[in-house]
Subunit: 318 residues, 2 copies
């Protein structure tokens, strides 16, 4: 898989009509608390409420007409499913989204609202992949994997392209890492545009396969504990890890308590809704897992899709 | 009390270094749901988390040096107290904030964080006014009333000035009404800049003194039931009502259920945190208390200070 800035700019041109150019927000309170200048790229305001709209749209629109007409398929319990469904609707082609039978109703409705065909399966990784393969065999649809796909990676990288257009002199760029689609795209974009920038990922300590792999110098499949950061439970992908090894400077890990605290701090201080996964980089700053004093730090807030009936800090209700 | 656009522009020049020029957001989903083009002026992103920073800053900075040096005082259980405390700190003069003894700890801490002197009193309107008068008698401080003050009204009107600079062709401008500081300032600004605009206020049905007064043609003090929109529990002020009679086109009322539903819709769809009072105008649109089909409607989202431990839709917790 080879990447360069041209490829990212081409992805950006392709998806521009279909995505938001999201704003960059700052907070004087969070700057004071961190001793740094923090910039937050608000992908929680993105279409479908998450950066995933970028990669899925790029991958679906990159298909040639004949291939696209046979449809697209993916498996996802989260934002990528909605992103592929929306992109297929925009392109006017069928979408088959395989979802675990225990998916949240709100996520199923989101996918269905774009007219996609939802196929339910047992809630295991094996069942998801087998069911998706089956759908593809029957329909001739093209798999749009949520991170092991170069057009998805290039699409996710467009957030960093915009970020560095708006704030060119960042010292550090941060995002969370799950499968590594966003991290790979971000790191390639940031290092190509600004070679001296540090690209740093943050990961829940309870699902730290990327951090462990990064230190070991080879991709490890690790045992995981539960993390509230539901977007980051997956293992880092093969091509993603190769890019991460080449372009990423560090991967830091954070506790569950730090994730919840960071999420709440951002809601209260910045008055924006972000999902737990999006809070992971700021958690690393708040928990001092990374030193940022005096630096200009860009953080990609990855999404804002959260169940308001089940917030992690509970509620006294009224 | 006389107002014109010069006065509002003068207020704007005065406070510009100390406030945010807040962004205007849109949502294709809410446009579809309403059949209108909705524009949201995000004063929840304002300093201290609410538009109140505008009026208080204007009033405090409008004082001559000798008067300012004797300090400022107000009574408030909410955002205005923090706004006056912050403005006084910026000007380098003492602030005395009278707060009911049962005020939320987070609000007390906010006022104290600006170095203001907090004076507690019994949680009644009479005790607040008496205690504040006492503080003023002892200190020589100047009262900065939260809405019956022309510099406060002019300051609040600067939100509408910015709004119409950013979206000049609004058909309707909406805000909630409590004491009427924001409404008076908004109506004067909007009608002066764009005479054909409709200025429409929204009020909780459970605290509808302004709507009743508007229909009666004279200021009524009415019986109130509890409303979750804590910023709108107060009666409309005397000078505020005079301006409202002259410049406002209508005042519509909404149910408590509509306020909670509108607040949740905005959190979920726009991914921003707003307080219940800020949801009242959109509640009127969602509840069809006002017809907006095909219109370009500007809504001032007044604030985002909400207790995340006591959200009105409860929580299953996790």
């Amino acid at each position: 898989m080879s990447f360069d800035l041209d490829r990212l700019h081409c992805a950006h041109e392709r998806i521009r009509p279909y995505i938001h150019r999201t704003p960059v927000l700052t907070s004087s309170r969070l700057n004071e608390a961190s001793g740094a200048s923090l910039f937050f790229k608000c992908e929680n305001f993105q279409k479908i409420g998450a950066f995933k709209a970028r990669g899925a749209t790029n991958a679906v629109f990159a298909l040639d007409d004949a291939t696209a007409r046979r449809g697209v398929a993916t498996h996802s319990s989260g934002n990528h499913g909605a992103a592929v469904a929306r992109a297929a609707k925009l392109r006017g082609v069928p979408a088959h989204i395989v979802m675990p039978s225990n998916s949240a109703k709100v996520k199923i409705r989101a996918v269905e609202s774009y007219g996609a065909h939802v196929v339910f399966c047992e809630p295991t990784e094996e069942a998801r992949e087998a069911t998706c393969a089956d759908v593809i065999a029957k329909t001739g649809a093209t798999l749009i994997h949520s991170f092991e796909n170069e057009n998805v990676i290039a699409g996710q990288g467009t957030a960093a392209v915009e970020f560095l257009e708006d704030v060119p002199d960042l010292d550090v760029i941060m995002c969370p890492v799950g499968g590594g689609g966003l991290l790979a795209g971000t790191a390639v974009a940031a290092k190509s545009i600004r070679p001296n920038i540090k690209a740093i990922a943050a990961e829940p300590a309870n699902a730290d396969d990327a951090a462990q792999s990064f230190r070991a110098g080879r991709r490890l499949v690790t045992q995981k504990k539960f993390t509230i950061a539901d977007g980051l439970r997956t293992n880092i992908g093969e091509p993603n890890f190769a890019i991460v090894q080449r372009y990423v400077d560090d991967i830091v890990t954070v506790s569950e308590a730090a994730i919840i605290s960071a999420m709440r701090t951002i809601w209260e201080t910045m008055k924006i809704v972000i999902e737990p996964s999006a809070a992971v980089p700021y958690a690393a700053i708040q928990e001092r897992a990374i030193g940022v004093k005096g630096k200009r730090v860009g953080i990609i807030l990855t999404g804002g899709n959260v169940d308001l009936d089940a917030l992690p800090w509970g509620s006294r209700a009224s």
